[in-house]
Symmetry: C2
Subunit: 215 residues, 2 copies
């Protein structure tokens, strides 16, 4: 959902967009099919799914055989087991590589530091540090005057704001996927952090979530 709204924002700002997804061994692979549908419906120029096996690193409920926590009453306090070590650092590194090859200066990412699970690599200071790194890391940064920017337009938005902004921009939320632990028919569990935050966002925005939930 967040990535879809980010893409809609970037498109509205006039960017031609290459969408980039990661098949990192996540149990919620359903999000990869959703990403393809969303990228197409919002007019991305292209969509790449990179296979990067983070199971070889391990350490997360999203990639390992560890139960995804359900019905947490304390979302945002502490860092849960769904945290994937250094995931956004790895994702942004690949995005940087792709940006360099494509000659792009702008990378968009849907991190959010308000209604979120407390992952360290979603915080604004992390994104700023990555932007600084990016401007030292590449041939483009060294040989040209172009400044590489990491855009995180959702950083300070509530989930309700994200839902409302997406609706304004015509995002079809029926195409999106948020659940960490969907059932075999890709139905959302309604109880993991991702579902709870999503459900809360729709409720606060006074809108109906078009997704079916198993719970």
């Amino acid at each position: 959902m967040d990535s879809a709204v980010v893409l809609a924002i970037a498109r509205e700002e006039g960017f031609a967009c290459e969408a980039l997804s990661f098949d990192y061994g996540q149990r919620h692979r359903a999000e990869l099919d959703a990403a393809r549908r969303v990228a197409h419906s919002l007019g991305a120029s292209g969509h790449t799914t990179l296979p990067i096996d983070m199971r070889a690193i391990g350490g997360s409920a999203l990639t390992d055989d560890i139960d995804v926590p359900k019905d947490r009453g304390d979302i945002g306090e502490g860092i849960p087991v769904t945290y994937v070590p250094a995931r956004n650092t790895v994702f942004l590194s690949y995005a940087l590589a792709l940006a360099e090859v494509k000659g792009a200066c702008d990378i968009f990412i849907g991190v959010n530091a308000l209604d979120y699970s407390g992952y360290p690599d979603c915080r604004p200071e992390f994104i700023e540090a990555f932007e600084r790194l990016a401007n030292l890391a590449t041939k483009a940064a060294v040989e040209s005057e172009n400044v590489l920017r990491i855009h995180s337009p959702l950083a300070q938005m509530s989930k309700a704001d994200i839902v409302r902004r997406g609706a304004e921009l015509g995002v079809d939320f029926a195409l999106t996927h948020s659940c960490y632990d969907p059932d075999e028919g890709s139905r959302s569990c309604g109880r993991c952090d991702a579902c709870q935050l999503r459900i809360k966002g729709f409720a606060e925005a006074g809108m109906k979530d078009p997704l079916p939930y198993s719970h």
Copy 2:
């Protein structure tokens, strides 16, 4: 060669070392076999080779069907086509993920900014920026007092210094591999940047390189 000397330095400083190599689609896959031999001979606790397909990103003579430059007289001036977009950013990101899972606070990398090909992601300012990022990126950095350090002990050494230091520490250079464009028998070409820098290093150190060269 550089990675081997870095491992020897880290071992001498008393670190237990997990060696990490990347199968990123490089044409000189011979270096992966060499890495395994070197890690074992220098007493690494373990050795992981991560398959990460950077050919999907492209943009380099090391991964694409672009000729590796030979007999360059101007090594260090400009950035050559062997530059792999954002490679060290991607490598360090995975190292950070592995460090987090293993509970390690120290990452060693064999970048060198004196006798080198002019890659932007080998410079000290890049390494410093990554260290700063790393200390914002992980659960370990947020929840503990531990500071993550990126060590680059070769940064300011000449290739001759690296050869001498490796010899002092008992590195068996016959186990190492440097060439970007080896022949089918894994013999080094003697003419690419990596070979030329290595040959110059051994010559200046007054030592014999044990590797066979096809040229």
